[in-house]
Point group: C2
Chain length 195, copies 2
């Protein structure tokens, strides 16, 4: 059915977020004006303020949404008691989740410094919770004598950096499939943690 003319909030809202995400990722938050976002959406700049109280809140909303999605997707996976299987699951989940939304990943790292202090703390807390999940897997594997990783916290940071780095070079149209990349990285991680 045709919608009532002028009642577009449920379609324009997501379009504003999509345009902001794409433009922030490409040019950076500070370099993108509200007018550019409006032009991408096809409205005038003033109309954007029906969907966000200000530009800062728009940025925070994108980052918060990304972190919430990340933690929710992890929580939706079944618990895995075997540390080796749990680590393999984490590695493959991380690569796949991050490759599926490169722009959100990019701004979630790049634009942290453009968040106001309270917003920054909010995102950092979520990020640390995610890192802690990997650290917990590593500690359980060390405790079970399955892994050789004397510094689980450092190892967790190293593994996450390595995995997120896939986003800098992987292209879906390239030589390697996503499944092949997952296998290559799982093999490197498995060896790196001494299993």
């Amino acid at each position: 059915m045709a919608r009532t003319a002028g009642s577009h909030s449920d379609i324009t809202g997501p379009r504003v977020r999509d345009a902001a995400l794409r433009l922030f990722a490409r040019h950076g938050y500070a370099a993108v004006s509200m007018r550019q976002i409006a032009k991408e959406v096809g409205v005038q700049a003033g109309a954007l303020y029906n969907y966000t109280p200000d530009k800062q809140t728009l940025l925070f909303s994108l980052l918060k949404g990304h972190m919430d999605d990340l933690l929710a997707a992890r929580a939706a996976l079944p618990a895995e008691p075997d540390p080796v299987k749990a680590l393999e699951g984490f590695v493959k989940f991380h690569i796949r989740f991050h490759l599926e939304r490169p722009e959100a990943v990019f701004i979630s790292y790049m634009e942290l410094r453009n968040l106001e202090p309270a917003n920054f703390e909010s995102i950092e807390t979520l990020r640390r919770a995610y890192e802690h999940e990997l650290e917990t897997i590593l500690r359980s594997g060390v405790d079970a004598g399955l892994f050789d990783a004397p510094e689980p916290r450092v190892t967790a940071m190293a593994v996450i950096a390595m995995l997120t780095g896939v986003n800098t070079w992987y292209r879906a149209k390239g030589r390697l499939t996503l499944a092949e990349v997952e296998t290559i990285y799982w093999d490197m991680v498995r060896k790196a943690v001494g299993h």
Copy 2:
């Protein structure tokens, strides 16, 4: 000896670059105005244009200088024919070099998108040359039967991402010394490449 009044180009120039580096790293290139840089240096905005033709050239100069330093520092190291020793040398060099200049490392990754196309290509060429050095070490180790790394290019990207990630968490005043961090990462890399 007191300098001739008004002859400060040899001192103001580096101060402009230092201030720009620090401010770009903290707030981002697009978010920092020439007036802010001038204020940090202690001059008026107009005076900055004695040291750079424009803001874009100032950014490019910082990134180009960083990449030149990186490649020159690598070239200054003695050649190492043993792939294992060469890899150990690369790992420890990379960590140390990058931890010594976190701000330059940060903007060299974050501000690539704010470079004009020709400047971007120039920096990317240097970055690829550096990555190629690690890839060459890995291939020589695989050829010698010392490493198990079926995808040397992917492994090189994974190792560099892991190593550069140290900058996100390491603090000189923290629990671990630089030498300890080098040892922990070298151990992880050594195992990851199957040695």
